[in-house]
């Protein structure tokens, strides 16, 4: 009868809560979690493998910017990259020295599938645990190689799922 439902409902008054109070409690991400990319600039050999494999074409190859101060908007970034790097055919001739181009990832399009990390021969491109990428201006979503090389701060979340007697909760 309805009693069974009422009893089951009341039983839950003593069970522990499931919610993670996000801003103050943050979940600890799995070791393999695919967050924002980290680019190790020296080891990159500009082979454009990540550029070719990226399904949503979120990666464009750009030169490192000589002078740091000047803030470049994406349009500017796009023209700045030489014409050849945008087409997706392989670099022209092996013997000609490859242009030092590095991946610039636009997080408007990136789906975090991690194909670029798998395909990178010198695995200079890996993924950190940072997932808080929201910005006020759309242009800031485009991360230049320099921005990608900064290692995100390690204020890792510490809360994981804990099976207690009073049900599941998120504990430190």
């Amino acid at each position: 009868m309805v009693m069974k439902a009422i009893y089951s409902g009341l039983k839950h008054l003593v069970k522990s809560r499931m919610t993670v109070k996000y801003p103050d409690q943050k979940l600890k991400m799995a070791e393999r979690f695919k967050g924002r990319h980290i680019l190790d600039i020296p080891t990159c050999i500009h082979c454009r493998a990540c550029f070719r494999i990226c399904p949503p074409k979120a990666i464009t190859m750009v030169f490192l910017r000589k002078n740091e101060q000047e803030i470049i908007t994406p349009q500017k970034r796009v023209e700045e990259t030489p014409k050849s790097t945008q087409t997706d055919e392989t670099p022209e001739k092996k013997n000609k020295k490859r242009e030092e181009v590095f991946p610039q990832i636009s997080y408007e399009r990136c789906v975090f599938c991690g194909f670029c990390v798998d395909v990178c021969p010198t695995n200079c491109l890996n993924m950190s645990h940072e997932y808080e990428l929201s910005v006020y201006r759309k242009d800031d979503l485009v991360y230049t190689p320099e921005q990608l090389s900064e290692i995100p701060s390690e204020d890792e979340g510490r809360f994981t799922i804990a099976f207690t007697k009073r049900g599941v909760t998120h504990a430190d």
Binding site: A5, I6, R17
Partner: protein, 351 residues
């Protein structure tokens, strides 16, 4: 008391006659005991406070049952001021009035709903003395007021002039009309035992036995049909989100919606208050605590039961709703009247 005296003689020597009389009259009203009752104790102020705390209680209680947190930040201690924050927010929200809506009625309905919901509370005795208007037909008075609500909900549905509210309004009409009949029959048993329609004397008559012990069936039908009257979850048909969005409240926004919510929860407070007065012996309780405290705790417990049902039961179909209303509840209430007569003759004859 000297403040009162010197205000009085200040008023007395005002030269302009009319002004003096007016101020004296206003001062008289301010000091009168009835004014205190209306504005403060059982009146507007307590109603607003208890109603907003009922809203908070419902959200927090359901949250705990659903393993989540509920309101938390407003007022720091567990979101206690969340309802007030909501009303202030709704004050600034734009009250959109649909262009094809019947403007006059569209705006009158929320105001009328709140007014009617609070007038019903004037007759409920919180304690022996604290009742605003001690009509000797107070139960009849609540009958009359409660009968107006279906008309208002239909008017709201009709005035919004759009499909969902229209359907919701019609359904609300079916439901509330068909549930008022078992509601009044179940109170007849109480009237029979207490031999009076006045709440105060009903409560007094329960000094020996609470009527819930004598008329359990009557109490049950009262609660069930009261939930249907309030359009709460098991009988939530007029406001069924998945079918007709918000029923007759769909087109209301901003403070109109706020007023309607206020009136809904005032009706919840009124329903549980009426149940305690009729069946749980209003303010009667061991005298170590003040009578109004007893009344409020009993009302709170009844309100908690009604709220708990919201977390536990799904919504009933319209056809079953009417079946339960007309077939089962009506019979139960008739049985409870016969039961009351039997109790009256045999049991009370003995005492």
């Amino acid at each position: 008391m000297n403040i009162v005296n010197n205000i009085e003689n200040v008023l007395n020597n005002i030269q302009i006659v009319e002004l003096r009389q007016l101020l004296l009259f206003v001062f008289g009203v301010l000091r009168s005991e009835l004014f205190f009752k209306i504005i403060f104790f059982p009146g507007i102020f307590t109603i607003l406070i208890t109603v907003s705390e009922l809203i908070w209680l419902e959200r927090k209680f359901l949250a705990k049952m659903q393993l989540r947190v509920g309101p938390q930040y407003a007022g720091r201690i567990g979101g206690i001021l969340q309802p007030i924050a909501d009303f202030v927010k709704l004050l600034f929200k734009e009250a959109i009035i649909p262009e094809k809506a019947d403007k006059k009625f569209f705006q009158i309905v929320p105001i009328l709903l709140v007014v009617l919901a609070t007038t019903t509370l004037t007759v409920i005795p919180i304690s022996e003395t604290a009742v605003i208007s001690n009509l000797d037909v107070s139960l009849l008075f609540t009958f009359a007021i409660l009968a107006i609500f279906p008309i208002l909900t239909l008017l709201a549905g009709w005035a919004s002039n759009s499909k969902y509210p229209f359907l919701g309004g019609i359904r609300a009409l079916f439901q509330q009309v068909s549930y008022e009949v078992p509601l009044w029959f179940s109170t007849l048993g109480v009237v029979l035992l207490a031999e009076s329609l006045n709440f105060v004397s009903i409560v007094k008559a329960q000094s020996s036995f609470w009527y819930i012990l004598l008329l359990p069936l009557g109490a049950l039908t009262f609660i069930v049909s009261m939930i249907a009257e309030l359009e709460r979850i098991p009988f939530d048909v007029p406001e069924a989100e998945s079918e007709i969005v918000m029923g007759w409240m769909t087109e209301y926004s901003g403070m109109n919606f706020g007023l309607i919510m206020l009136s809904l929860y005032t009706k919840l407070y009124f329903a549980s208050a009426m149940f305690t007065a009729l069946f749980l012996g209003g303010w009667l309780g061991p005298s170590i605590l003040s009578p109004s405290f007893w009344f409020l705790t009993k009302t709170l417990i009844v309100a908690l039961i009604i709220i708990m049902l919201r977390g536990v039961l799904p919504r009933v179909r319209l056809s079953d709703l009417l079946n339960i209303g007309w077939r089962r509840l009506l019979i139960f209430s008739l049985i409870s009247i016969v039961w009351a007569v039997m109790v009256k003759l045999f049991l009370l004859g003995v005492f």
